[in-house]
């Protein structure tokens, strides 16, 4: 469904994403993990059209989308959330979600009704009339997810929607994400919460210093010495040899 081929993106002298090639299969939940500053968000931004890749191709549903503006890419069915949440602060939760719902629903009444439906699915039923600016961080993360989902995407890119949530809230979002996939939406998620990655993702890609260093099931990844070293520093794999645990939040 999504094929990234040799994508690179630099900021000045810093190569944030270096020659990344990866793919996301239709119907799957795929995770992208890696230490802080690995380039995960930058890769999302190049896929979703907010940044133009310096090199490489991004194919979505067989179509080259690299260089298209984000609104066009969204209309093709690829929606993203922001790690640093970007609510329409002055609008209510319902109105926020309705902006996404309007993508395929010209009528105001339909869009608002769909927004309410999505809001309830995401567990924001009681917050629908609150101003988005008044939400807690957990509420804002949910709102990011709800708005993106309201655009009826085929592929959903989630950038750390569970960061800063407590275990109960994480459990709730995990259930929500699973339900979204069951409804036929393919999901690529960036996540530091390993509990969530393990319980959701079939395939996990690991990015470190802009380079993809591993790919596999969460269990395979956790056992990969390269991954352990990326998170914990050189020699860590040797030190940890024999012990259980694997990748934890850096």
């Amino acid at each position: 469904m999504l094929e990234v081929e040799g994508v690179s993106k630099s900021f000045g002298g810093l190569r944030a994403v270096a020659d990344v090639t990866m793919r996301v299969e239709e119907g799957s939940i795929t995770a992208l993990i890696g230490p802080n500053g690995a380039g995960k968000t930058t890769l999302f931004a190049t896929i979703s059209g907010f940044l133009r890749p310096d090199a490489g191709r991004v194919r979505f549903l067989g179509r080259d989308i690299a260089g298209l503006p984000p609104e066009r890419i969204c209309r093709l069915g690829l929606a993203r959330t922001f790690q640093i949440v970007q609510p329409f602060a002055g609008l209510s939760v319902r109105e926020n979600i309705a902006v996404g719902a309007h993508l395929h629903r010209p009528g105001r009444a339909q869009a608002l009704a769909h927004a309410e439906l999505i809001g309830r699915q995401i567990g924001m039923g009681r917050m629908l009339d609150q101003p988005a600016g008044a939400l807690t961080i957990a509420g804002r993360k949910r709102l990011e997810l709800a708005r993106a989902l309201a655009t009826d995407p085929k592929l959903l890119l989630l950038d750390e929607v569970m960061a800063g949530l407590n275990p109960t809230e994480i459990e709730e979002i995990v259930t929500v994400v699973r339900r979204i996939r069951l409804a036929g939406v393919t999901i690529l998620l960036i996540e530091h919460v390993m509990q969530a990655v393990v319980s959701l993702a079939e395939t996990t890609w690991v990015l470190s210093d802009g380079v993809l260093i591993a790919r596999g099931s969460p269990a395979e990844i956790a056992a990969d010495p390269k991954v352990v070293e990326a998170y914990l520093g050189r020699g860590a794999a040797a030190r940890l040899a024999g012990r259980e645990g694997g990748a934890a939040r850096a």
Partner: protein
């Protein structure tokens, strides 16, 4: 929506009685001018209030509308009623042009404000140099009273005409508040990146808003020309109109349906009081407006309408915010 529509109808009906109930010529005229400035404020409000793009140069649209209808009428003998939509279109085109240039290159905030200001100035200088506008001498529209000519011997006709324009602007704004276009425009105001991520074409949305806003201000210009039957570059493209257009919604409440109306009546009430207190002094209005602008931005960023709404909510709802 139902309640807003009812409020609009009630307002228009009450205003329609003014020429019959208000005996004083002075006050009838005062209400008429307040409605005129409300129209300019409503035009600005679409782009600035709902879209978050602050223009300092709405005179560019107003003046273009005014000159367009005056020139068509004086030099080409076009009936003012036919020149009116042409004036709206011309002003809308100027809006689209300014919008295309500034939004294509991502100008926002004070940069956008400065570009609009500069455009109004350029047009003022242009109007001072090309013969068709009568240059600095100005353009006189021959007196020829008659409704067919959009000139009204008793001023009641002018009153109803501006009331109709204000009604049109109110309905347009009401539509905006309940349409996809309006939802997208507000989204662009709140957060452009988030809007783009949800499939909103930010450039096209802003372009449509400035075109609409310009066209509405252009209708105001056409009206002004027919009311005073005289134009010069300073009147048409000078900063006074630009300042009125932005101050009215800022005072009344940006991005609200009735804010510009409220703002216009409040502003011109205050300006009348100042005249009573200090007499007619040149530049008094502008000085007063400057002070008001600072006070509003500091103490009432949501305008009179916003403040009224929160106060009302506090009184009625026991802490629940409207």
């Amino acid at each position: 929506m139902r309640r807003q529509l009812l409020a609009i109808v009630a307002f228009l009906a009450a205003m329609a009685l003014v020429p019959h109930l208000v005996g004083s010529e002075f006050w009838r005229n005062w209400v008429m001018m307040a409605l005129f400035y409300a129209l300019l404020g409503q035009a600005w409000n679409i782009l600035g209030g709902y879209g978050g793009q602050f223009s300092f140069g709405h005179a560019a649209f107003f003046g273009t509308g005014a000159y367009c209808s005056a020139i068509l009428h004086v030099h080409y003998g076009v009936n003012p009623w036919i020149a009116l939509p042409a004036a709206g279109m011309a002003a809308g085109l100027v809006g689209a042009f300014i919008g295309f240039l500034s939004f294509r290159y991502g100008l926002r905030g004070s940069y956008f404000a400065l570009v609009t200001l500069a455009f109004a100035e350029v047009l003022r200088i242009l109007a001072n140099t090309v013969p068709i506008t009568g240059k600095g001498v100005g353009l006189l529209i021959p007196l020829d009273p008659g409704a067919a000519n959009m000139q009204f011997a008793d001023r009641t006709g002018y009153f109803y005409l501006i009331l109709a324009f204000v009604g049109l602007a109110l309905l347009l704004t009401l539509w905006l508040e309940h349409s996809r276009f309006g939802a997208r425009l507000v989204a662009v105001r709140e957060n452009e990146d988030a809007a783009r991520a949800l499939g909103v074409d930010v450039f096209r949305t802003k372009l449509a808003a400035i075109t609409l806003s310009g066209a509405l201000a252009g209708l105001g210009g056409s009206y002004y020309a027919q009311l005073f039957l005289y134009l010069d570059p300073g009147i048409a493209y000078g900063p006074a109109i630009s300042v009125e257009a932005l101050l009215v919604p800022i005072v009344g409440g940006m991005g609200t349906l009735f804010g510009p109306l409220l703002g216009s009546f409040a502003l011109h009430g205050v300006s009348e009081l100042a005249k009573l207190a200090f007499g007619e002094a040149a530049g008094l209005d502008l000085a007063l407006y400057g002070v008001l602008l600072v006070l509003m931005v500091m103490f009432m960023p949501n305008g009179l309408f916003g403040m009224g709404r929160t106060t009302l909510a506090r009184l009625l709802g026991g802490g629940r915010d409207a």
